[in-house]
Amino acid sequence: MRLRMTALLAALSMTALIAGGCANKEAVKTEEPAVATVKSDTTKPIKQTYDKAEGSDASAQKQIAAADSSANAANDQSGQSDRAVAGVAAFETVYFDFDKSDLRQDARDILSKNAGIMMKSKTALKLKIEGHCDERGSAEYNLALGERRAKSAMQYLITLGVQPDRLSFISYGKEKPAVPGSTEEAMAKNRRAEFMIDK
């Protein structure tokens, strides 16, 4: 039953993607200016943004994703240049609830976009999906939880039609937080799956 629902959803998303190719491009473009404004955001609490993100407010979610990708750009120069080489914008990060690896609605929306980028890319782009956790919980348990997050994101991309051999996963548990700090906001940004272009 659940499987059939997923398949239906996948089919719907695909239709949306095919029909709305332009909209998708636009979503990718909006990322550029967002990065510039986000630097200040990461330094002050963004409670409001987070609260919205818990729902399916796409713009708030995008802001978090942008904040996240700017943080990544800072500590992962090579990832940044990979993206430039591939000629695609950064894949958006998806977020999870505490101690959960099932996909929220906002995560499914983002994964649909990410799947779209994958399926439209002319090069045989490969993705490594990194599963991450917030600082709560044991490092050991979080390694397993991070892997579940990466795999549930990967499984959804496959459901949406991405070829399995273009996807791989790794868990970093709580070892590589996107943002420092122990606030709810920081932890919400750290419970995530990131999409890295795999050479």
Partner: protein
């Protein structure tokens, strides 16, 4: 049976002392309040050279006093040598001033330093019965002086409790002081830190081999979280398991024939055992839940582990072949990091409470669940080889550091000295 043996050993060692000290043997086992602790004076060792090194001498007596005070069985104080017209050799020790000052035991020492060579002799005296109990002579380098003092502290524990101390053992842990999470080793009291791994990657969960000569750990050095081992005596990191997915929380079986660990090669994190070279995986758990952190019972017959099969991580126990799984912890909604005590009676673990973790111990039959820490957030407990202490990482104000406490939770003391965040301590064997 074991206790009888200790008392016998005690009798053989110094029968005359028995009437005076017998009551305190119980205090060692129980550490109940009301039982008076033995009082020990540690005199600053006397130099046999023309050029004494007061700093070295005081460091040695301070080490012995620290170890004894941490043990909880003896209350120790460092004391300067008694003023005398001529220095009193070890053989001519007079007891009266010490018994008058209320001491039961006395450590005196003599040392000489030539170049960077150090020779030191310590003696333990029973002040009440006016007898020498034990004497040890150490020859080595000046840099060994703390080791010599710890070694004599082990000897004092043997004479007072019938069980050798663990003061010459090591603690390995994960530190990010270098900028990356690397494995570092130090003496149990935090001195002589030495960074072992230098691969610039993420290194996690060190575990000592039963002989104390090798470490198992997980490293991302080749991209995937793989299990490696290395001898303390060299720098070669040997891959043990690099199967697809997680190769984490490796734990040597007590007879060192096997390694228990978590693998996710079959699609989900499960507990397996491997032969010690990493071959022949045997799957022990079959469950769609997360299973991590296997911890062997000291007889190797059972394994404690963490599973969220009931929704949240809890500690379970199974036979070493995977049979007879039963839940151990029933209180608390998130329990992790099990470590079996060397005597087999207890399991230490960490429970999430409030925003952090606290260390608990529970009997292996599930009774006697006891909270040991309450300050800050503490996790990753590991027992000393004699079961007297538990080391753990704790965040109390500053960055996470390594602490040691007695197994009843008393005497919580920060031991790691470095900067940066230090976590996941493992305690070596004797």
């Amino acid at each position: 049976m074991r206790k009888t043996f200790y008392i016998l050993l005690f009798l053989v060692a110094f029968p005359a002392a028995l009437p005076a000290l017998a009551g305190n043997i119980e205090a060692v086992e129980v550490t109940a309040p009301g039982n008076r602790q033995l009082k020990l004076a540690v005199e600053t060792p006397r130099s046999l050279n023309t050029s004494p090194n007061a700093t070295s001498a005081r460091e040695m007596s301070a080490v012995i006093a620290f170890d004894m005070n941490m043990s909880g069985t003896i209350s120790a104080e460092t004391r300067e040598q008694l003023p005398a017209a001529t220095p009193v050799p070890l053989a001519g020790t007079s007891y009266l001033p010490w018994s008058t000052a209320g001491f039961d035991l006395l450590v005196r020492g003599e040392y000489s330093i030539t170049g960077d060579n150090l020779t030191v002799e310590f003696r333990l005296f029973d002040v009440l019965n006016q007898k020498m109990m034990t004497s040890k002579r150490y020859l080595g380098k000046i840099k060994d002086l703390r080791y010599f003092a710890h070694s004599f502290a082990d000897e004092i524990m043997l004479f007072v409790t019938g069980e050798k101390g663990c003061f010459t053992t090591h603690v390995a842990y994960v530190s990010n002081q270098s900028g990356n999470k690397e494995i570092v080793i130090m003496n149990w009291d935090g001195y002589n830190q030495l960074q072992l791994t230098r691969n610039g990657s993420i290194n996690l969960n060190p575990d000592f081999s039963p002989d104390g000569r090798e470490l198992l750990f997980t490293s991302y050095k080749r991209g995937n979280p793989d299990l490696y081992k290395r001898a303390l005596s060299n720098t070669v990191e040997v891959p043990v398991s690099n199967r697809k997915g997680l190769n984490i929380t490796g734990s040597w079986s007590p007879d060192s024939s096997k390694i228990a660990l978590t693998l996710s090669k079959d699609g989900n994190s499960e507990i397996y055992t491997l032969a010690k070279d990493g071959s022949r995986p045997v799957r022990l758990t079959v469950n769609s839940a997360i299973e991590v952190s296997p911890a062997w019972s000291p007889d190797g017959a059972r394994i404690a582990f963490v599973s969220d099969r009931l929704g949240k991580p809890q500690i379970f126990i199974m036979n070493a072949d995977g049979g007879n799984v039963r839940r151990l912890t029933t209180a608390g909604s998130y329990n992790v990091n099990p470590r079996w005590s060397p005597k087999g009676d207890k399991i230490a673990y960490a429970r999430m409470s409030g925003g952090g973790f606290q260390i608990f111990t529970i009997n292996s039959d599930g009774t006697g669940d006891t909270q040991l820490t309450s300050a800050g957030s503490s996790e990753n407990p590991a027992w000393s080889p004699d079961g007297r202490f538990i080391t753990f990482s704790s965040k109390r104000g500053g960055a996470e550091a390594i602490y040691v406490m007695r197994s009843d939770g008393s005497g919580q003391t920060r031991v790691s000295q470095g900067k940066g965040k230090t976590t996941q301590p493992a305690w070596s064997s004797h």
